[in-house]
């Protein structure tokens, strides 16, 4: 609990369940779908809020988590802006021209450099 993976799952559930609710509303309006997806969306929203408040002390992250529907996705943007990029393949050799990394530990998933080495 509290890991970025948990936050990602909660954020996906929050946005996904809202999409299902809205889609159901404008199409078939099937009552059982609303009554099941509604509480699921409520749980996902509260999970996102709790995880965001626990993992980050910044006001921007905490306020973003309170936004209905897309709060989780907004939190992911502020918490891990670089991890959305594909990670370096583990087998690729590190070019010798790359600086030895004063800012990041080598192999850290969270600190992929913005500019890929030439």
């Amino acid at each position: 609990m509290g890991s970025p993976q948990t936050l990602r799952v909660a954020a996906a559930a929050e946005a996904g369940s809202l999409a299902v609710l809205l889609l159901n509303l404008v199409t078939v309006h099937w009552e059982p779908v609303s009554s099941v997806t509604g509480p699921v969306h409520g749980c996902a929203y509260l999970f996102v809020v709790v995880l965001a408040f626990r993992s980050d002390r910044r006001a921007a992250t905490r306020i973003a988590s309170l936004v209905p529907g897309i709060g989780g996705l907004l939190v992911l943007r502020t918490v891990e802006p670089r991890s959305r990029r594909p990670a370096e393949p583990a087998s690729s050799p590190t070019p010798p021209s790359e600086p030895s990394g004063s800012r990041r530990p080598r192999g850290s998933r969270w600190c992929v450099p913005r500019v890929p080495p030439a």
């Binding site: 609990m1 009552e31 009554s35 099941v36 509604g38 509480p39 409520g42 749980c43 509260l46 709790v50």
Partner: protein, 153 residues
């Protein structure tokens, strides 16, 4: 659909609140033993605190699906349910504001200086944990007895 919502609500209550009740009750006793400096007891203490923290978060499912069930049954205005919701809010407040922060403080103190921690702190923590357990027990009994209820679910 009411039966499904009620099943999720009851399952979540058993799976999420049960571990919190047990782990939080064991915490003060293990904390006393960990004060003797045993690294094994400190590891157990960390695990107990983690169980409390994680399952307290999972416990969010219980009131959310409980509200959905009550709304589906049309009993949101019943006195027994309003009393249960108020007591649940009190129990959640005790857990989040009193029990979990004190567990964290105790754990931090024992990890640094096991010999110099305040011996009264586990006792106070045990009292707050007892309050939490009593509140949950009262809510559970209210959910079963439902004084004044006419629904058969």
């Amino acid at each position: 659909m009411t039966k499904f919502l009620l099943a999720v609500h009851v399952l979540a209550a058993i799976i999420a609140i049960g571990p919190v009740t047990v782990a939080a009750s064991m915490f003060p006793a293990v904390a006393r033993r960990a004060a003797s400096g045993s690294p094994r007891e400190l590891t157990v203490l960390r695990t107990l605190h983690r169980i409390c923290r994680v399952y307290a978060t999972v416990g969010i499912v219980v009131p959310v699906f409980g509200l959905a069930t009550a709304s589906s049954l049309g009993v949101l205005g019943d006195a027994w349910l309003i009393a249960s919701m108020a007591l649940t809010a009190c129990a959640a407040a005790v857990l989040v504001l009193l029990v979990l922060p004190r567990q964290e403080t105790l754990l931090g103190g024992l990890a640094k200086q096991p010999a110099e921690h305040d011996t009264r702190m586990p006792a106070r923590l045990a009292m707050y944990t007892g309050m939490f357990n009593v509140l949950w027990a009262v809510v559970t009994v209210l959910m079963i007895v439902r004084p004044g209820s006419t629904t058969g679910v």
